[in-house]
Structure formats: structure tokens, C-alpha cells
């Protein structure tokens, strides 16, 4: 019987949908009764003339009972609702100007919200696309007492697997790339190496074939799983591909499975195309490689185990391992993080910030619509008074007004859907691969539901105050004396003023936020990166595995390639670097210098390390401040030569010439000796907002210190337009290595611009919100002052008749506007200081109390407010006293 109310609901809806049939049936039913009664009375000999009154007496009022039947069926309420709806639509259509402005205002506000919420929904709310998502976590290594986490070494992962009890499975993966070949054009694809645990842990079944098994990761034979997209695009959706052999990195691999299109692992905007079994190289199993942190670890918690419990268990195991390997695991710990936090944690604060900003815009829009409604209702007071006189209750009037504002809000939400749709397309184009998208950004059922609910709430919120106007005293007076200005009017004026002050305050907050973000971006753009990027082309060079495997990358590929590239007409300099500065970072080594006593194990300093070719510094315009550049002869034959940056020189050799000193890379018990041959200028390696860190450059010729295994970045300085050399670059590469590929060719300026892209996007969004807010607040102020002038026309007329000149009237009105604007600005400044604190993380080089922003923005806002009140003030000053006194 629990489901009963639902059955009743559907029965009622059915009646409602066919109201006419219901009425017809009811009428027929009662008429049948009457006819039967008539026949019976006639049969019994009642005179025909007496029958009707008799039946009426027996039956009662047919109309009354019909009404009672409708009541019993729950139709009365819906009838009232339908009447109110019709009335609302009619009223709204009678004032098209008001309605259109209100719809656009609210539509803009709620549309912006729908767009941002769609993103929030896609990134933060929607479940990760794995059946086991809630139990999937990432596990990291960590240096005790330091923020941040690092990847894991293979030996540690294997020990964790053995000793940690909270995981059902603990797998590892390494995202990388691979070159497919053999059957068609060689193609560079995104490849991820996964251990046997990973796929079953995620729980997504292959659409064809199978996952990897234990025998695959033992490397008995080469196997590969391909993505649906690759299967479709490269293999023409041929189901026979499973079991066939394709060439990966020049070696034969058997395709054992195809993952469905929905499968995306690791999560990211660019989907992995092939998965290969992760077989740890022997090197990584060497006891000395315990400190080599490079693999990603993913775990499936046992049912019922919390992240905290898992974390505690892992920390316990690491503490035990530290006892066993006191040097390699010195001072280290570990952390377990939910999968979602790992994927989206970085963008969560930003997204929530944008959501907050856009909610402010919605509040401003609501205030505007409330203001419009009040003004419009004022014009309809007489209409309302007539209705009250005709017997409408205040409650009915209020209900009607609320229905009207909710209708308005829902209409606005429809308009907003249009805005949101357009906005999302722009957003998708702007954000590109910046968002760690978990799935497509779309306005799904959840977004629509939240949008609808928000619209109804907003409709009630912005409708309640205007609707309550009718419950105040004074409505009745309208008929008696149309010129009576009631206290209700004063209250409403005060309320409207409060609304405008709020609007101005909120828009000031948003404007200050946008101003601070803009200042930060400008500061960043004028920050010296340490590079001279003019006419520098960069490209990612996809190096086939065979070179790395045989240690021939430099000799057979990079060296000969650079020789050819330097010979291209228009090329002034060329070089390679293991990690493109500004964009790529992450390779660090622990080190110490000279014969000084080593710091306590685990507390050694870290340096960024990049492997470069000679000529790299000249290409990128990085000055050699002392000593020399690396040279081709700096190979594995003598002591390893390195160049260090100024920060390293300054921090470790203050007041000394570092040339000839030694860097010891490793730990106290085991280290490599490197000799410093040069000092380079500082470069903001990890982005413009990050100060330069200690950095060491090694030579690509020295295999003992070569960190450029696999893909590298090729950088070329040209004397002609930089795009012109690209075909020649490709030709040069083709000659040297037909199976290598140049990807992602960009100028270095573009690389830098792209590193600022997410900041630009945030600024654009924040700026648009602030702009919308400003326009709404200004129009709100305008409307209030305009209305004020209209109401005080008579007073102004009297003043002018008594000798006030136009300038005085102008001042009088402007003062009203100024009071509201100043009030709003004062409140807004308080709010802005709070908001700026939330933005602190994004405010590079500006600080949360940037005086320029905090002065400029209020001035601009004040100017806009002045203009908004000047127009109605002008009108007031032109009041003709004679006309004003004659009209009411």
C-alpha cells in the first residue's frame, strides 16, 4: 500500500489531462440519476409539474455536488493553479517591454550559472567512469614534513603489494607514448603501460578480447590492448584485429583486446590509445633503484575500508621499510588519495570560486528582477485595488504575483538554457585540454533539475517582496484617493534602495576580483622568463624505443639530426632539451657539493635536472654567465661535465667562482661526481609564476647523466619567419630516422602563452561575470532613481516653483544616486577584501590588497553610477513646474 499515493497521483493526472471527458462523464452520471428519479416519481403518480421541485429537494444542488466531486478529485487546486498561470501569462504579455527585459536579465544570470554548473557537474560531481570508482585510490610516496607527493619506485610498489593489507589489489601504470608501425604509416600514439592488476581493478570489460593476465606481465610474449577509437580509425573497425599481430616500436605485438569507447584511463582530455603490459625493466629492480620514483600506483580498497584506514596502513608499512632500507627510504612516508581528488583536486578550488562568482551574478540578476517587478507593480496598484474591491483576498493576490514571478523565472531559465548552451560551446573552445574532464560537459538531467529548482527558488525569492506589497495597507486607499502616498511606498523605496546597494556591493566584489586577476596576468606576462623567445620554434620529437633500448639515441638520432638542422638555410641555432622549460618539469635529483659534510640522509637538497645538447642555451637565449657551454666532446669518456644555473651558484658558492667545483649527485653513501664547467642564467623552468629553482644541465653525450631517454624537445632559432623552416625540419628528420616523428610544433611564444591559458580563461570568465554584474547594477540604480524622480515630480515642481534652479534639482537627484552608490561601494569593499583572500593563490605578484585595483575599481563603479543617475536627474531638472503641479 506504500505505493498508493503514487497511484492516486497518476489517476489525478489522468483526469487533469482529459478534463473535458471528466466533466462530461460527471454530468452524464448525475443526469442519469435525475432521469431515473424522474421516471420513478412519474411511475408513482407524482404530477409532472411537481417532479422537478421534488427531485431538487431530494438531490440538493447539482452544482454544489459537482464542485464537491471536483474537490474530492483534487481538481480544484489545479484549477486555481491553471487560472493563476493563465493570468500570469496574460499579465506578462500585456507588458512585453518589462517581460523581455526581465527574461533577459534573469536568463543571463541563470544561464551563466547553468554553464558553470555543467562544468562543475562534469568535473566534480559525476561519478568517475569506472564501476569500482568509489573504492579506487592513488598511492604516493612523500617526503616527511614536505607538501606534495611523488611517484613511487618499483621496488617500493612491490613491497607495498606484499605488505599492505587494506587493498584488494595494488597496481601500477606509466603513461607514455609508442610508435605503431608495420601495417600502415607509422603513427605516434598515446600509450599507457599498466600492470596486470589495473584493468580488472577499474572494472571496465573489453568490448572484444581480454584484459592482460599475469603471464602477460611476465613478458612471455608481447601483447597489446587498443582503444575503440584507434581500432576504428587505424584498423577500420575490423573485429578480426584481435589475435592479429601489429608492430609497436618496431616489434611484433599481439592484439588481445579492444576497450570500449567510454573507457578512458588514465583520465584526461587526451585518451590513451594503446595499453601495454607494464614489465619493470631490470634496471628498476636493482636495489640501488629504490630511490627512483617514477611509476604511478593505483589501488582498489577492500570493501568497507576507508581512505584514512588505508593511509594509516600504508604509512605503517613505509615506516617498517624505512628500518630495512634506512638510506633509500630515509625520511619518507606515503599518502593514499581518492582517485577523484587525484584527477580534479587541482581545479576544484578554481571551479568552486567561479561557481561562487556566478552565483553572485545570479543574486544581482534576482535583485534586478525584483526591482523591475516592484516598479511594474507600482504601475498596477489601481488594478490591484479594483480586484480587492471586487472581493479578491490579499492571499489570492499574493499567490497570483508569486505564480507570475515563478513563471517569469522558469521562462528566464529557458532563455538561460540558450545562453548556457552558447556559453558552454565558447567555454569548451577556450578551455581546450585544460580541464581534467571526467566525461563530456553536457547539460544532463542533473543540470536541468538543478536549473529548474534554482529558477523556482529564485522566482519565489525575487517575487516575494514585490508580492507582499499587496498585503500592506494602502491598497484599498488607492480607490478612495488615488493621490494618497502611503507608507507602503516609503517602505518599498527603502527596500529597493537596499536592493541597489546590495547589487552595487556585489558587482564591486566581482570587479575587484577581475581587476586583481587582470593585474596578476599583466604582471606575469611582463615577467622575464630568462629566455629570449623571439623566433624560436619548438617541437616534440618522438623517439622510437629502439634508440633508447640500444643507448644510441644521441649518436644515431639527435646528433645527426642537429647537424642537418643547423645546415638548413634560415636556421641560426638548434638544440634539444629533455624537458621544455615553462611547460615541462619534474625531473629532480638529490645532490650535494664538494667535500663538505653531507646533510642528514633524506634532507639533501634537490635540483631540477635537464639534459641538453650544446647550442641549447644559445638557441633559447639563455646567457652563459661564467665558464662555458657544454660541448660535443663532453661525453662519457672523462668526468661528467655540467652547467648549473645562477640560483645554484649563488646558494652553494656564494662569493666564489663555482667553475671547477663538483656536484655530487646521489646520497652520502653512493653518488656520482659531476664537474661544473659553466653557469647559466636563471630560467623560470616550471612556469612564469614560479621563481627559478636550483637547476643542473647535463650533456646529451654523457650516457652516465643522460636524462633525455625517449622523447625530447627540439628547439630551433631562426633568422627568417619561424614557420618557414618547419617543412625542412621534417625533411631532415625523415632522412635521419624515418620512424621518428615531430609533433606539436609551436613557437616558444605560444608555449609561454599556453602556460598562461588557464589564467586567461579564469580572467575571461571572472571578467564577464563582473561585466554582467556591472551592467545589471547600473540598470538597477538607473531604475530606482528614475522611479524616484517620477514619484517626486510634484515635489520637484513645488521646489522649482519656489525658486530652486535646475542645477539645484540636478544636485538633489544626483545626491540620491551618489548615496546609494557610496553605500554599495563601502559594503562592497569589505566583501572584496574577503573575496580577494580566496583568490590569493591566483594573484601572482599582486597581493590581495593591490592599491591600484582597490582604488581604480570603486572609481570606475562610481563613474558608472553617476552616469546611471545622471539621466533621470536630467529629466528631473527639466520638469516643468506648471505641468508637474497639474498632474498628480
Amino acid at each position: 500500500m506504500v505505493a498508493y499515493p503514487l497511484a492516486r497521483f497518476f489517476r489525478r493526472v489522468r483526469l487533469l489531462l482529459d478534463r473535458r471527458a471528466f466533466e462530461r462523464d460527471l454530468d452524464e452520471e448525475m443526469r442519469f440519476h435525475m432521469d431515473m428519479a424522474t421516471a420513478r416519481h412519474l411511475e408513482r403518480g407524482v404530477a409532472p409539474a411537481a417532479v422537478r421541485p421534488l427531485i431538487t429537494k431530494e438531490f440538493g444542488s447539482m452544482d454544489r455536488y459537482k464542485d464537491e466531486v471536483r474537490d474530492a478529485r483534487g481538481l480544484t487546486v489545479s484549477d486555481d493553479m491553471a487560472r493563476d498561470l493563465r493570468f500570469a501569462v496574460r499579465t506578462l504579455r500585456r507588458t512585453p517591454g518589462f517581460t523581455v527585459i526581465a527574461l533577459l536579465t534573469f536568463g543571463l544570470g541563470i544561464g551563466a550559472n547553468a554553464a558553470i554548473f555543467s562544468v562543475v557537474n562534469a568535473v566534480l560531481v559525476r561519478a568517475l567512469p569506472y564501476p569500482n570508482a568509489p573504492r579506487i585510490v592513488r598511492a604516493y610516496e612523500q617526503v616527511k614534513g614536505q607538501p606534495g607527493v611523488s611517484s613511487v619506485s618499483v621496488l617500493n610498489w612491490q613491497d607495498w603489494q606484499r605488505e599492505v593489507t587494506v587493498f584488494e589489489a595494488l597496481g601500477s601504470f606509466v603513461a607514455s607514448g609508442a610508435i605503431l608501425g608495420g601495417d600502415a604509416e607509422p603513427e605516434r600514439v598515446r600509450a599507457t603501460y599498466v600492470s596486470a592488476e589495473v584493468m580488472p581493478m577499474l572494472g571496465v570489460k573489453p568490448m572484444l578480447g581480454r584484459w592482460f593476465g599475469d603471464e602477460d606481465v611476465k613478458g612471455k610474449q608481447n601483447v597489446v590492448i587498443v582503444s575503440e577509437a584507434l581500432w576504428r580509425n587505424r584498423y577500420g573497425a575490423d573485429r578480426g584485429i584481435v589475435g592479429r599481430t601489429i608492430r609497436v616500436e618496431g616489434l611484433p605485438f599481439t592484439v588481445v583486446g579492444i576497450m570500449p569507447a567510454s573507457f578512458n584511463f588514465p583520465l584526461g582530455p587526451l585518451q590513451t590509445q594503446v595499453w601495454l603490459p607494464f614489465i619493470p625493466p631490470d634496471m628498476a629492480l636493482d636495489p640501488r633503484a629504490r630511490g627512483w620514483h617514477w611509476i604511478s600506483v593505483i589501488g582498489l580498497l577492500k570493501p568497507g575500508v576507508t581512505v584514512q584506514q588505508a593511509n594509516a596502513d600504508l604509512v605503517r608499512v613505509v615506516a617498517r621499510l624505512e628500518k630495512e632500507y634506512p638510506i633509500a627510504i630515509a625520511n619518507r612516508s606515503a599518502a593514499v588519495v581518492p582517485m577523484r581528488d587525484d584527477v580534479v583536486g587541482r581545479v576544484r578550488p578554481t571551479l568552486l570560486l567561479l561557481l561562487g562568482a556566478v552565483v553572485l551574478v545570479l543574486l544581482i540578476a534576482c535583485a534586478n528582477v525584483a526591482n523591475l517587478l516592484i516598479a511594474r507593480n507600482a504601475a498596477r496598484r489601481k488594478d490591484a485595488a479594483v480586484r480587492v474591491a471586487l472581493g479578491a483576498s490579499r492571499g489570492q493576490l499574493v499567490r497570483q504575483r508569486l505564480v507570475e514571478s515563478v513563471v517569469l523565472a522558469l521562462g528566464g531559465a529557458l532563455v538561460g538554457l540558450g545562453f548556457a548552451y552558447a556559453g558552454l560551446r565558447v567555454l569548451a573552445a577556450l578551455s581546450g585540454p585544460m580541464l581534467p574532464i571526467v566525461g563530456p560537459i553536457a547539460m544532463d538531467a542533473r543540470v536541468l533539475l538543478v536549473l529548474g529548482a534554482a529558477a523556482v527558488v529564485c522566482g519565489l525569492v525575487f517575487g516575494i517582496a514585490p508580492a507582499m506589497q499587496w498585503t500592506r495597507s494602502g491598497v484599498r486607499h488607492e480607490l478612495a484617493d488615488l493621490t494618497v502616498k502611503t507608507t507602503a511606498g516609503t517602505e518599498m523605496r527603502r527596500f529597493r534602495s537596499a536592493l541597489v546597494v546590495t547589487q552595487i556591493a556585489l558587482s564591486l566584489m566581482l570587479l575587484v576580483g577581475a581587476g586583481l586577476l587582470m593585474r596578476a596576468l599583466v604582471t606575469l606576462q611582463s615577467t622575464d622568463s630568462g629566455l629570449t623567445t623571439e623566433r624560436v620554434v619548438t617541437a616534440r620529437l618522438a623517439v622510437p624505443n629502439r634508440y633508447t633500448r640500444d643507448n644510441t639515441e644521441t649518436e644515431q638520432l639527435l646528433g645527426p639530426l642537429l647537424e642537418r638542422v643547423r645546415a638548413i638555410p634560415g636556421v641560426r641555432q638548434a638544440g634539444v632539451v629533455s624537458l621544455l622549460p615553462i611547460e615541462e618539469t619534474g625531473a629532480t635529483v638529490s645532490f650535494w657539493v664538494d667535500d663538505r659534510p653531507w646533510p642528514k640522509s633524506g634532507t639533501e637538497p634537490f635540483a631540477e635536472v635537464r639534459t641538453v645538447s650544446p647550442g641549447y642555451f644559445a638557441t633559447m637565449g639563455v646567457p652563459i654567465k661564467a665558464g662555458r657551454d657544454l660541448e660535443e666532446r663532453d661525453d662519457s669518456m672523462s668526468v661528467t661535465k655540467v652547467v648549473v644555473n645562477e640560483t645554484l651558484a649563488r646558494s652553494f658558492f656564494p662569493g666564489e667562482n663555482p667553475i671547477g667545483h663538483r656536484v655530487l649527485q646521489g646520497s652520502a653513501d653512493r653518488y656520482f661526481e659531476w664537474e661544473i664547467v659553466g653557469v647559466s642564467g636563471d630560467v623560470r623552468q616550471s612556469g612564469l609564476a614560479e621563481a627559478p629553482r636550483v637547476e643542473i644541465y647535463t650533456s646529451y653525450r654523457d650516457m652516465r647523466a643522460n636524462f633525455a631517454r625517449g622523447d625530447v624537445a627540439l628547439v630551433v632559432k631562426t633568422s627568417i619567419a619561424d614557420a618557414a623552416v618547419v617543412p625542412d625540419l621534417r625533411r631532415a628528420l625523415k632522412t635521419v630516422a624515418p620512424d621518428a616523428a615531430l609533433m606539436n610544433v609551436r613557437s616558444m611564444d605560444e608555449v609561454i602563452a599556453q602556460s598562461l591559458a588557464s589564467r586567461k580563461l579564469i580572467l575571461v570568465l571572472f571578467g564577464s561575470f563582473a561585466g554582467i554584474a556591472l551592467v545589471l547594477a547600473a540598470s538597477g540604480l538607473y531604475a530606482v532613481i528614475y522611479y524616484l524622480v517620477a514619484q517626486r515630480t510634484r515635489e520637484i515642481g513645488i521646489r522649482m516653483a519656489l525658486g530652486a534652479d535646475r542645477a539645484r534639482v540636478l544636485r538633489l537627484v544626483l545626491r540620491q544616486g551618489a548615496a546609494l552608490a557610496l553605500g554599495g561601494i563601502a559594503v562592497g569593499l569589505v566583501g572584496a577584501t574577503m573575496l580577494s583572500r580566496l583568490l590569493a593563490g591566483l594573484l601572482y605578484g599582486v597581493g590581495t590588497h593591490d592599491p591600484l585595483t582597490f582604488v581604480t575599481v570603486p572609481v570606475i563603479l562610481g563613474a558608472v553610477a553617476l552616469v546611471a543617475s545622471l539621466v533621470p536627474a536630467w529629466r528631473a531638472a527639466r520638469v516643468d513646474p506648471v505641468v508637474a503641479l497639474k498632474t498628480d
Binding site: 500500500m1 442519469f32 440519476h33 432521469d35 421516471a39 440538493g60 464537491e68
Partner: protein, 110 residues
């Protein structure tokens, strides 16, 4: 929600209608006649008030209705007790009996 006794005044009429329909499906007119006959005209209710009662019962799922043909070949709406209605009839009957007992007890003792 288990069947619950209705508000007393409205409930009384509903109880009478339910009881009447317990003997088989019939249209509103026969219900009126039957109540009048059985009560030997002692209950003075407007016949019209039967219809809100019937619709109320149908809205609650105690009776169901369908159009049929009457004795004199006219379209008439027939009401039929549902399983839920039968249960409700029991609850209402017991509740009524308790009420009547209580009232007569009070009348005897007071």
C-alpha cells in the same frame, strides 16, 4: 499506509456506500435507492452527496468505476469495491461499532 478510519461525519456516509457496494457493483442511483430502502427512509441525506462520496472513495482507491449499460439500456457508471475497499470496510465497520458501543455506554451510564 494501512487503511484508517475516516473523519466521523464524512466517514459515516462513506461507510454506508462501501457497505452497499459490498453486495456487488452498482451505479449511483441504485446505491441511493438501496440506502434509502435499507434504512427505511430513516436516513435523510441529499442524494447528491452520494456522488462526492463515490468519487472520494474512488480517488482513495476503495472503489473502481466503469461505464456499463443499465437495466433500461442507458449508459451508466458502475462502481465496484476493490480489495483495498473491502479492507477499509472492515476497518470502518469495527471503528463504527466501537463508536456506537461507546456512545450507548455513555447514554446508559450518564
Amino acid at each position: 499506509m494501512p487503511p484508517q478510519p475516516n473523519d466521523r461525519l464524512q466517514g459515516t456516509l462513506d461507510l454506508l456506500v462501501l457497505k452497499t457496494l459490498a453486495s456487488g457493483p452498482m451505479h449511483g442511483w441504485s446505491v441511493a435507492l438501496r440506502i434509502q430502502d435499507v434504512s427505511r427512509d430513516a436516513l435523510l441525506i441529499n442524494q447528491g452527496s452520494l456522488y462526492p462520496a463515490l468519487h472520494r472513495l474512488e480517488d482513495n482507491g476503495f472503489v473502481s468505476s466503469e461505464w456499463g449499460t443499465s437495466e433500461n439500456n442507458r449508459r451508466a457508471k458502475y462502481y465496484r469495491l476493490t480489495a483495498r475497499g473491502r479492507k477499509q470496510l472492515e476497518v470502518e465497520t469495527q471503528s463504527w461499532e466501537r463508536f456506537a458501543e461507546a456512545v450507548s455506554l455513555v447514554l446508559r451510564l450518564a
